[in-house]
Symmetry: D2
Subunit: 329 residues, 4 copies
């Protein structure tokens, strides 16, 4: 469903080529200072324009329609929307006939019996994530956690000084790349996360995997931890605050934050919409065909996607924080 959260609840709406996209954020405590400027940095991080990103450039002005009065949250839901101005009209029906490989075209055609808004990916478009970023900004304001987010792997390359060149070559090849984003969160209390089903990992992964293109999520050492024995993997506690010498568990034990740095890595697959020609099935002719995608697309959605993933983590932690508060006197 298009809502998530028990106490800090985010509901999204909108399509790529509708008149607006946006979000209702419910469960924001009253008295939080909120100004339009608060959104600027994170919205800029998501914006098009850099190498590897689309040329569809939206202004992304956040309209705060409710829930804020005299620059403070009121306790009522915030509705924040963004107008879609820069949509180019063209014939998108081609993707109903020849669904883009690795894209939602085929599954949405079947699931919605052909009634989906297929223009620009409709509700499956990355455009919807602009509201997520806005919700993430609010989530960060109601907690006091420190986020550090970066791409640690781009198309297999881990040397960051080479990223610019890689992205530049990519455009020439009409191809795309994926990568790995690492998110580190500090200043967390001990105790977030609710057994049995709402572990910190459960909550965060639920939200991260709702972002289009995410295909892997790991915490701490993650998959690499398989190489270690228990005596090597276990994080020795070294003081009464629970500080550990290593952090192979990524700040979480038994699904609950242990006060150490939260370490998350997220794999985003290569953007499926590429200008390079692809062979695939034509549902109209019932034969194999060649798909020629035009339009404006990101070669590496991961560039703009980082802040969306960070926002998702922030939303998860805001909700878990409120839930944890509830049980404390």
């Amino acid at each position: 469903m298009n809502s998530f959260g028990k106490l800090f609840k985010v509901s999204v709406y909108g399509e790529s080529h509708g008149n607006s996209v946006g979000v209702i954020i419910d469960g924001v405590p009253s008295g939080i200072k909120i100004e339009e400027d608060d959104f600027t940095i994170d919205l800029l991080r998501r914006k098009a324009g850099a190498i590897g990103t689309t040329t569809r450039f939206e202004e992304d002005v956040p309209y705060l329609n409710s829930g804020v009065f005299n620059n403070f949250s009121t306790g009522s839901p915030l509705m924040i929307n963004f107008l879609n101005k820069n949509t180019i009209s063209k014939d998108y029906t081609i993707f109903k006939e020849i669904p883009r490989p690795s894209h939602a075209d085929f599954v949405s055609e079947v699931k919605y019996n052909g009634f989906q808004d297929y223009r620009g990916g409709g509700h499956f478009s990355g455009r919807v994530t602009v509201g997520i970023v806005a919700a993430g900004v609010i989530a960060k304001k109601i907690t006091n956690y420190k986020y550090k987010t970066e791409i640690i792997n781009l198309g297999g390359e881990t040397n960051k000084s080479r990223f610019k060149e890689i992205l530049s070559n990519l455009r020439d090849e009409d191809d795309s790349l994926g990568g790995i984003v690492e998110i580190r969160v500090n200043n967390l209390p001990v105790g977030l996360g609710e057994p049995y089903f709402d572990s910190v990992e459960s909550y965060i992964s639920h939200l991260l995997f709702s972002v289009g293109g995410v295909k892997g999520v790991e915490f701490g050492l993650g998959f690499k931890g398989v190489e270690l024995k228990g005596s090597q993997f276990n994080d020795m506690i070294i003081d009464k605050n629970g500080t550990t010498k290593t952090n192979n568990n990524g700040g979480i034990n038994g699904g609950i934050t242990n006060g150490n740095e939260l370490v998350i890595r997220v794999m985003i697959k290569p953007t499926p919409s590429i200008l390079k020609k692809q062979e695939t099935f034509n549902f109209k002719t019932n034969k194999m065909d060649v798909l020629n995608i035009e339009g404006r697309h990101d070669n590496a959605i991961i560039i703009r996607g980082q802040v969306v993933l960070e926002a998702m983590v922030a939303i998860a932690l805001a909700d878990l924080t409120l839930i944890n508060n509830a049980y404390k006197k």
Copy 2:
């Protein structure tokens, strides 16, 4: 919280050393044939006794207390419980003073202000997963999907013929190992998964990460997919059913099943409770100390954990199937 699911809802209770553990399974359609024998195979897969597993041996007889009448589901909730018989009394307060590294001891002490049932890990014990396996059996019965689950990596080793030897050595070393489980599901329809937040990956990862020790989840190619370009990663559709030539997306596009094989990999960390001595913090003396864990523990919880992970996937898919049904006439 200790419940998960919108229409197929699973609620767990119980502690390692209480008198029983169990599960309420709500949302089972009426008229499903259910007999006690149905649970035998999966409960056996979770059972202790094999190399690498604990010597605490529970009978694991499932008591069906409600929701089944004349061997058919009634439409009312099933309560299934399991008695804890084989608990050994000993002094567990040592873990309040010297919490086991990488274990929930420290975080539960803080979160629950010392009131947690710390005997044998309490509610954090793997013992609770026996109810999950039972719920998984029911989940599989209300759908028609085919599961294939196996360990593809044990402590870094991928050659299965060497697993037995590795486990045997492990016991001698008083140490433990983790590994990677791969779950493949076939016979799925196109269309499971609900945007924006309840993608198939979101739902499945939420449940998988609620299992103690899981530190990574990936779908299809997962993290390895970072090496490929879009033109290589994209799965070419080859017929009108949506069959794809490759399956790098692991059967999911846009968060929705595409009818191809669902491919999931799960990393389980090495069991934290090892007999080998460990240096760590003593909260009573406020100094570093040496922890000497006794008792019966698994050297590789992954052996018994496979079926628990499979059950979690089945629970996720059962709920998503019912939700998808709701919107079809």
Copy 3:
């Protein structure tokens, strides 16, 4: 919270004097024909202008921002909003000092620590119900139930021919009245409602009591049924469809629709905002004071409220219908 529903989920936002109010409607099956005209009749029924209603007249044009494409629902959430144009600026801070009796002024001041948007009642304003009416229209379209709604008691008077005169006198007295609305629903299947907690009465009353001013809800004979013995109250079944001779249970047995007419009565209290002077407490002076309310208010909110209550019933039944569908093959 500001969302309700498991599969047909309605989320509201907005304040009386913000720039817009609206609703996200999630869980609308794809392929439902939806046009702006569909909203006209129900929005008109809620509109100001008739005797007993406010002179604040809003155009109430519904903007469909998402979820509808080529006049059919897409399966993605509908966001429908309404602009607030006709707000009169004045000083509302008086209600922070002298909260209106029987109104939300005092409780919202305490609950939100004074940060609430108090202008025109803010989020507690009846203005928010315009989105509910829109959601009700959609709810009715995805089911096939027949609604008949009327005021059966206005300020103690049950003779409808006298209502106009009563309302006219009321304005002269600067006072207000409540009443009882009766909602009858036909064409319902047997089987809606989910034990144990989601009985039809539970669901419907939950939504009805979320409307400001509702103080009583009853089904079938309701409170009057206390006069009858079991042998008189019991509804004799007279055919194989479950038709009953009497309908004292109001179409519901064991919390589940029985296929007979659903009969609901709702008590709405007199509108608290009256022009007549009232003695009450002044929180600034800490003394009793006289409150003199100005502005535009309804003398009998029940007139415009009927369609809101009907919408709430429709929303409840739409969700229960989808849930019931889910468990049928």
Copy 4:
């Protein structure tokens, strides 16, 4: 569904003639003192034996299977169950052929396609409420509210000194009666209740209407308030705590507690199972027939039902209290 609550979550299971009924109570903060004796008084209030109640006498010993350790809540879910010992075997299939009027027999036959456990009403039996009473006891312990519950109307009679005689006559007539229960709660803070959909009235009515036989719920003056004008109905605030001179709103404004006494009235219909012969439809012969109900039944379920209704109110208030806590620092 068979669960209710966001943070204080109650899940029920069980049938009248199964081996046990019970409840999982999730979201109990750790450190609450809980002993088996705590349940004695409320379970006694629900017990059979008094005039007007059934002769089926169950011991109702509460088994605390989890969540309590050393007499304190642990923070993990409580599972409390009760054995069904005193079930009399007989042929209940008669109610599949001739469903009892006003009972769940017919609707459950249709909804569950004949697979329901029909013995003694199965999951629809009042037997399930024993777990609700246990959950209510816990709910009261985590809050500090004062409850006063009484029958104010029995079969139309409001003079309590006549109740005993009425019940006695009823048994002779093989008939049944309903009545009205009034629940008053004191010591409440200002601020419980969450707009828009989770008003105090919404939450409480949702739970009350899930009890079999409840057909009306009102707050404060309720339906009688229809006789008053706004100037008469409005509750004048008389001090800075928000104390009001009258309490026509029953302690709630805008869906939020205002600190005054909470006043709730609940109508319970006459018990449908009566020994008196009734004419009704026979689904086997497809003709009208005479139903002759035997067995042990309450003539006035309201006697034992009072404490169940009180428990439901307590459950609602416990959840709303935890939610309200969450948003306070």
